[in-house]
Amino acid sequence: MKSSKLYILLVCILLSIQVSASDYPTTFANANTAYLKKDYAKAIELYQSIIADNQQAPQLYFNLGNAYFQTGDFAHAILNYERARKLSPDDEDILINLKSANQKIEDKIEVAPQLFLVTLHKKIIALMNEKSWSLLCIFCLILGAIFIGLFISTQNYLLKKAGFYLGGDFLVLFIATFFVAKSSYNASRSHDEGIVTVASVTVLSSPSDASTKLFILHKGNKVVIRDEHEGWMEIKIANGNVGWIKNIQIEKI
């Protein structure tokens, strides 16, 4: 079993990989202080400066969302909470503040019922972030390999049996978590959701100003982007309605 020690070492290395921090912690702390002093405009500016450097963290988006919330810009608050949730789907604080922000916006859209399996799939993916799922996947594979190794090598009947079943189970789990991690990865990479950031948008039936007006969306509404075409986006809202709007009216999550 010499090789298992190697795996543990490997996992340790994986876990200990950290992005070397530059001055972002200081900026972040300054922004938090500004928030505490109710200087929300300054806090927003500082948080945004970190994001502008292509850095991200769920806490960063969450705090930025809070700052927007305090200034009354609920659309941007929702946008940033959604971004935070994408990075850390299991954080209760984010979900609660997102709910509060959603209660402040004008539109209340009845969510169209979804298939049980679809919701279950979404819920499972939302349990952890992409990295955790990936690590769990590797962990299952390692355990599976160890148990199969046990199954092969032992003379003891009971150990052999345990090794066979546990090894098999972990291999199945490995495959399952691999696909969940892949879905999670795809979901967090894709930017197919957006928040309406202008006060009022008229959704049209086709990507043309002359087409039929379908419905009106207000600031803060979350939409799913289905298609993009020459500065237009085909969007779908929570109740299932679909239409076209200009892409400048939406910010992608």
Binding site: S3, A21, I50, Q55, N97, S134, I152
Partner: protein, 596 residues
């Protein structure tokens, strides 16, 4: 009266020679204080009408105007005079002009001089109405009638009761009165006592006899220490007094004229009470502010009850003092008792000071059986006469509670500790996260990264490596055993050949040694058992595991036994050596076949 005057004037006017007419203002004092009454007379010789007085706005008219006219005939010369009298009081300080007054006589307007009244600051002491130097009417008020405010004590403790009297001293007829301002007594508890103002007594002050009426009697209990000033009481009196005017004619005198009714405003002097704080030393615990002289009784309605039956604890405080201000006593009921706020009833009387009794009715309900005790209660009060605290203890109460009727308990069960839902006071978002996170570049994902694939690949590679390493090891191991196994048969055959030679030589001892060694060696090598572990028991167990039949094992063990026995006692063993040899060969062949 006016008509009479006009008539007289009319009669005499025919013979009247015209005078040079003059209007003058005279004041009883030109230097007064604010509010101090003084008398002003506008007088004119001759007759006139429509007297107008300017600049009276700075003054209060206390009394008047009283007009009077007189006519005298001296040596046939008729002289007339007319005067108007006011009692005034200055409204403010300073040099105030009074006048001029004008009057029209035969179409001519005559103007008077102007008086300057020097008004000084009011002196509170003068408000009691002691202006003896004012003539006529004011003199009547000053000496003949005044209000007095007195207390029975001027130095009291906080909570000690004192009595405040407002008395009217008068020597003139008082027709009626009305109190216009009652003193506000801040920081005091006040209880008015009914008085009978019409019941007057006589009192002599400075040799003058006064009638005294008690207008008001008030019990005052100061609630704070320090100097407390009781503001003056103001009242208006309607008095009947001798007219300041001399009776002008016989009719007046005969008809009992010369009396007129006047309104007088009077103020009492402010009274200052020195209130001392209660001494801090020796202040008993649980002192509830009672000051006076009290007795105290506590009683329990029953001391043996069933659970869920109510008990009354009655505390009665009787005595004189600030009974009204006594708070309910804090009783340490057993925690298990259900307690209610006490019902307070008071029965007050005000004869000879505030007093009476106060009853506190505590209702308690024991909810569980057992023996309970109510600690003794101490009622403490401060006795201002003895200047010390007095503590009155009550006995301890022991209550025995029997098991209650279970149905009763259900009926009246009361749960004081209702679990309440968490009260949401405000609604706010969760606060920002203050721990500095691990920033990573956007689009930095773990899945699909090199590390991820390494993590996936390395267990697989590790497993494969493990598998092959093990396989090789196994092969090597299995070779060793096979070699040993093959060796075993060879060795056994060798030993059997030696045994056969000994058989032919009839060397019994050597024969048995070779036979047993051949068997032991064969089994040890075949089964891969070391020499140390080569016991008969071990052998039979291992063979059993290898699937060798019991008969063969038994045969093997018995042969080994026979050989060992023969080795140590060769002569004791009977039997054919050839048979044993054949048996051993057969045994080895069988083992060779049966061991898997």
């Amino acid at each position: 009266m006016k008509k009479l005057i006009i008539l007289l004037l009319f009669i005499t006017s025919v013979t009247t020679r015209l005078f040079a007419q003059k209007l003058t203002i005279q004041a009883s004092k030109t230097s007064v204080t604010v509010g101090e009454p003084f008398q002003v007379t506008f007088s004119m010789n001759g007759s006139g009408s429509e007297m107008k007085v300017a600049h009276l706005t700075d003054f209060d008219i206390y009394q008047g105007p009283y007009n009077s006219s007189s006519m005298s005939v001296v040596n046939g010369v008729v002289s007339q005079s007319y005067s108007l009298t006011y009692v005034l009081g200055a409204k403010k300080e300073g040099k105030l002009p009074l006048g001029p007054a004008t009057i029209t006589v035969n179409g001519n307007t005559i103007q008077s001089n102007t008086l300057i009244i020097d008004v000084g600051k009011a002196n509170a002491n003068q408000n009691s109405g002691g202006q003896s130097n004012t003539p006529h009417a004011t003199k009547a008020e000053g000496d003949n009638i005044f209000l007095s405010a007195t207390t029975n004590k001027t130095k009291v403790y906080v909570g000690e009761e004192l009595t405040l009297y407002f008395k009217l001293y008068f020597r003139i007829d008082v027709v009626n009165y009305s109190v216009s301002k009652m003193p506000a007594m801040d920081g005091c508890f006040v209880q008015d006592e009914q008085t009978n103002p019409s019941a007057t007594k006589q009192e002599t002050i400075d040799g003058k006899q006064y009638m005294v009426a008690e207008l008001k009697k008030t019990y005052v209990i100061p609630q704070r220490s320090g100097k407390i000033t009781i503001d003056p009481m103001e009242a208006e009196f309607l008095v009947r007094q001798q007219s300041t005017r001399r009776p002008q004619n016989i009719f007046d005198q005969i008809m009992g004229g010369g009396y007129e009714e006047a309104k007088i405003k009077l103020r009492s002097k402010p009274v200052i009470i020195d209130v001392m704080p209660l001494p801090e030393e020796k202040k008993p615990d649980g002192f509830a502010g009672a000051v006076g002289n009290f007795s105290f009784k506590a009683s329990l309605s029953k001391d043996k009850v069933k659970a869920n039956e109510a008990i009354n604890l009655t505390i009665i405080v009787t005595g004189k003092g600030n009974l009204k201000l006594i708070d309910p006593l804090k009783v340490n009921f057993p925690e298990d008792f259900e307690t209610y706020d006490p019902k307070v009833t008071q029965n007050m009387n005000t004869t000879n000071g505030l007093g009476g009794s106060k009853t506190f009715d505590y209702l308690v309900i024991p909810r569980h059986e057992g023996d309970y005790k109510i600690d003794h209660l101490d009622f403490s009060y401060f006795d201002p006469v003895k200047k010390e605290y007095v503590v009155l203890p009550s006995p301890e109460f022991n209550i025995h509670v029997d098991k209650g009727d279970p149905r009763d308990a259900n009926a009246s069960v009361y749960t004081p500790h209702n679990q309440e839902e968490l009260k949401v006071l405000g609604d706010d978002i969760r606060y920002i996260k203050t721990n500095v996170p691990e920033f990573k570049p956007a689009d930095d994902y773990f899945f699909n990264s090199t590390t991820f694939w390494l993590g996936i690949l390395s267990p697989i590679l590790g497993f494969i490596a493990f598998y092959f390493i093990r396989k090789k090891n196994l092969e090597m191991n299995s070779d060793l055993i096979a070699v040993k196994g093959r060796k075993a048969t060879k060795m056994a055959r060798k030993r059997l050949i030696i045994a056969e030679q000994n058989l032919k030589k009839a060397n019994k001892e050597q024969f048995y040694i070779e036979i047993s060694q051949a068997l032991y060696g064969y089994v040890g090598d075949k089964l891969n058992i070391s020499v140390a572990n080569l016991t008969k028991e071990n052998i039979s167990n291992t063979l059993k595991l290898k699937g060798v039949s019991d008969a063969t094992i038994e045969n093997l063990i018995s042969t080994i036994n026979t050989c060992e026995y023969a080795r140590y006692a060769p002569n004791a063993v009977s039997g054919d050596l050839q048979t044993i040899y054949n048996n051993t060969v057969e045994l080895i062949t069988t083992l060779e076949n049966e061991i898997k």
